[in-house]
Symmetry: C2
Subunit: 577 residues, 2 copies
């Protein structure tokens, strides 16, 4: 199994040469985060990911989680690694200073997150959900709840979960039936069953804080009758709350993360935010979680690429068609074969292109947190538009890249010990949870484009237009400009589309958008790598060339489909299927 090695050179190039994040920090009075400090954070994060977390990944998959006597235990070493994680302060990178957090810029923390996902996505998932819970609580919780729960969630003494899904209510949360009865003392009794609860129980911490969607007795039907509650595993007085783990799911992958059925049997909880506004509160958590899930796609993709690259350099098989490459050996390494290069370059161009878009997004998260109110609003608009793209495209991409990784290994890719097939299994969940990728695509075209009337589109387009105009090379600038204008005009042409056609075009629009915006990132990156004289300049230029020639044509296939009406999808009767 290939050892994970964090792509620090790429992170440094993207953060400093490409995005110039420290200029942005200075503009936002976070100037103490200079390049040296950022590099030290990601270097130490890399060390932790490589040395502590990654070595647990393969065994974590084999061993899985156990539920015994109502208690969940995770694979060997997971709890110890978590203890080291919180001791080293990695859990508190983003939390507010007043509750003990470090308030690091997102763009300095996100690379560490990606590395942890490459190293061991099952392990990372629980940490990531705690961060999302912190966000929701910071934004919507009462001062009392914040004082009582935020310090320990930010330090990592306790972890958090998101309890949304029920057997009959997944995509459609309006169908959820978990109920909350008012105890008239400020607390509520929560009763119902939640499924697919990541980290619903484990042995890592003394307490686990569940954020649970439920209905008050007087709630209107549908999603406008859902409220959010904080439900701890152990009450403030130390007594156990009335909740339990029903079972842990048997999953395709993500075996190191306990995915629990949680039974709330009149468990005591407290309202977060206003009654009946739970979905809006949960969306604070979900949007963060969606981007983090997208990052899982990038992280797993990177791990698969590294595994494939190592094998392609080592595995001797056949002679290269361009002539013998390694005459002293019985065969050439397969990296010399054009079709293996096609797979490796597909992986590399998709992972690095997605990473670039992800860090561009992280920079906007910095602005949304630390900028002026006007800057914040602008950044939030871009984040709103890009969230469904990062979640869905990055995770589909992670699956595709993992598939190539297995293929490079030939039959050995199918054998568990090599660790390559695990990436397919682990990444498969990312296309499903936090809203399936189909739902993300619908969110993008429907809520973020058509129903928004094009305002988010316009702000996002401006960001990319600025990127295009910053390209030094005229020919690259023209090419990027052409791609952006084509995309923007196509997106604008969709305004006013009716609901059925919108839904029918959703997936194609998401993919067309992602391939186009990433093409612009590639042209910008390659240009900047050249002008800044970065050591990656040759690589970036050549991978950009590959992306534009062999990956970007996929955008044209999606654009063809976008021009269709929905007739061919809807004309089938159910019986004709």
């Amino acid at each position: 199994m290939a050892a994970y090695s964090a792509p620090l050179d790429d992170f440094k190039f993207l953060l400093h040469d490409w995005l110039k994040v420290t200029d942005n920090y200075q503009a936002m009075n976070k100037g103490d985060f200079d390049a040296d400090l950022v590099n030290e954070i990601i270097t130490q994060g890399a060390k932790f990911a490589e040395e502590v977390v990654a070595p647990l990944n393969l065994n974590g998959d084999n061993q899985g989680c156990r539920l015994e006597d109502g208690k969940v235990s995770t694979p060997d070493g997971f709890a110890k690694a978590y203890a080291e994680y919180i001791e080293n302060g990695w859990n508190s990178m983003l939390g507010s200073e007043i509750y003990g957090g470090q308030e690091l810029p997102y763009s300095a923390a996100i690379p560490v997150h990606e590395m942890l996902m490459s190293a061991n996505v099952s392990w990372r998932l629980i940490c990531g959900l705690t961060e999302s819970a912190v966000l929701a609580l910071e934004k919507h919780g009462s001062d009392e709840l914040k004082d009582a729960y935020l310090p320990n969630l930010i330090s990592g003494e306790w972890t958090g979960t998101m309890c949304l899904t029920e057997p009959q209510a997944g995509t459609d949360l309006s169908l959820l039936t978990t109920k909350a009865d008012n105890n008239d003392d400020g607390s509520y009794n929560i009763t119902g069953t939640k499924i697919f609860i990541s980290g619903g129980d484990h042995e890592w911490t003394d307490n686990i804080i569940h954020l649970v969607l439920a209905r008050l007795p007087d709630a209107p039907a549908g999603v406008k009758g859902i409220s959010l509650f904080l439900v701890p595993k152990f009450m403030p007085d130390g007594s156990a709350n009335d909740l339990s783990v029903g079972s842990i799911e048997h999953k395709m992958g993500l075996h190191g993360c306990p995915t629990c059925v949680m039974n709330f049997d009149g468990a005591k909880g407290w309202l977060v935010g206003a009654p009946h506004s739970g979905l809006a509160c949960m969306f604070t958590m979900m949007n963060d979680a969606r981007f983090q899930v997208g990052l899982q796609g990038v992280g797993i993709g990177e791990a698969s690429y590294q595994g494939a690259l190592e094998y392609a350099k080592d595995r001797l098989q056949s002679r290269a068609p361009q002539g013998i490459q390694e005459p002293e050996k019985k065969a050439d390494a397969i990296i010399h074969l054009p079709d293996v290069r096609r797979m490796l370059l597909t992986q590399k161009s998709l992972v690095e292109g997605s990473r670039a878009l992800g860090l561009l997004y992280a920079k906007q998260m910095d602005i949304a947190r630390f900028g002026t109110p006007e800057e914040q609003a602008n950044a939030e608009a871009i984040i709103a538009f890009l969230t469904p793209i990062t979640k869905s495209f990055f995770t589909d991409m992670g699956q595709e890249v993992s598939q190539h990784g297995v293929q490079v290994y030939g039959g050995h890719g199918y054998i568990q010990e090599w660790g390559m097939e695990q990436h397919i299994r682990d990444s498969r969940i990312t296309q499903l949870y936090e809203g399936t990728n189909g739902i993300q695509a619908l969110d993008l075209i429907s809520r973020k484009l058509v129903r928004d009337g094009g305002k988010l589109l316009s702000v996002t387009n401006e960001l990319f237009a600025q990127m295009v105009s910053d390209i030094a090379d005229g020919s690259s600038r023209d090419q990027a400009s052409g791609i952006l204008n084509d995309w923007h005009a196509t997106a604008e042409s969709l305004l006013g589309t009716d609901a059925v056609a919108t839904a029918a075009k959703a997936y194609d629009f998401m993919q067309y958008s992602a391939y186009s915006l990433i093409a612009i990132c590639w042209l910008s990156m390659a240009d900047r790598a050249q002008t800044s004289g970065n050591a990656l300049a040759q690589s970036k230029t050549k991978v950009c060339d590959f992306y534009l020639k062999r990956i970007f044509p996929r955008a044209s296939a999606h654009k063809i489909s976008l021009a269709l009406d929905e007739h061919d999808l809807m004309q089938m009767t159910a019986d004709e299927f």
Copy 2:
């Protein structure tokens, strides 16, 4: 978990309305196989697949195989189902009559094979390999070997394996080191280790017949020094041969099939075919196995489609954008959602299109076996050209279709009990074994097109040109003609391409070819369904419309890549990756 139901209506439409196979049987003096008999065979095959084999699939995956005291056991029920299979004569469908076989037309047997693969691909694999071994032995074995081994292999009393791969020799068999020492009594002693041996041991039968590639002492280096040997688990006198199972592999899927490391420790074997011509002999077996692996893609794809369709009709979630569909219920079934239809139609159009091409291939197998010498040569040319396409495209397709099947289920698709994620895991091996899909693509463009000088292409093109000219509807005929001419001209333009460019274009040419030829099959099928008044006419017409609008545009993306030279693939140095 959805129960498998064999698509008998589709098979009957394809065999009778579309391919008119019984006309072909009559022309080849196999007229006793009339439509009623063919339908009876596939109906009984469906019953066996649905009732006996399919119910073992989910447990087979969970339970897996065990190696204890050197003996392999397969999951509960597998051996009993096999006993019933051979008792009912399913194993002998294709074997020669003189050795006890039934000599059924391939086009009557292949549908049964596909059904068994839908039902339980792990179970089916061992049966399929025996059939491939029979072919190799029939064609290349001495009369003595044939008399001794064929009757029991054809009846299924014994099973067969293919022993090619060694740890250092997979794609590149020239590197294999297993050796054969001549005993000067007509037998050889075989020594070496083979890996990835499907069905290397099991408890189904009293004997297992291994076909093993090895080198004679005087063998030239490379693939021209490889010979093929028949090595039985038990010798004709009943004593155990000197071979053993080293281990069974831990695989991503296909858990019900024991994939063995086989150690040959001076095991006694007999030469099949001439010395040093083992690879040619093995290719008889491999070509059959390659098409069968392609069928696995179709079979698994069908199973995934059926599972997704059932769930899409049952699962109530949200309201359809075109208006409430099921007012009496709290939500509409998700089959009414346009994006779910996109996934289901992608599955259906790819599976049914591939099945059509597969049965077209099966009809050519009939001709290659029972036709006049001239007809045989023509059919063999078509088979040679289409084999790498059916193997690689059908299996990539099976993976894609299985991915959509999981996606339709949302989070539930990730849970093992639903059986949907198993299709992803089981189908993943089909893209790897019997030559990776990259190797298939290279075989197509290099051996079957460029080095052949276009002769196989020409014969294949004629077959499709006939199909096009048979289309009754003028507009459909024109469209099909345009697609065929474009494909043929593009393929011809590749003649003379040098080795590096050929390798660089391989994958795109394979996919471009498959999407184009299947588009022609769809236009022909939809037309024939209309003119023959088949009950599937509406469905075929609408799915054809979907395929042409939303799937076929992928061909244009591959065509764009085909026009590229290899520069963008080859300019990267190994260090720049």
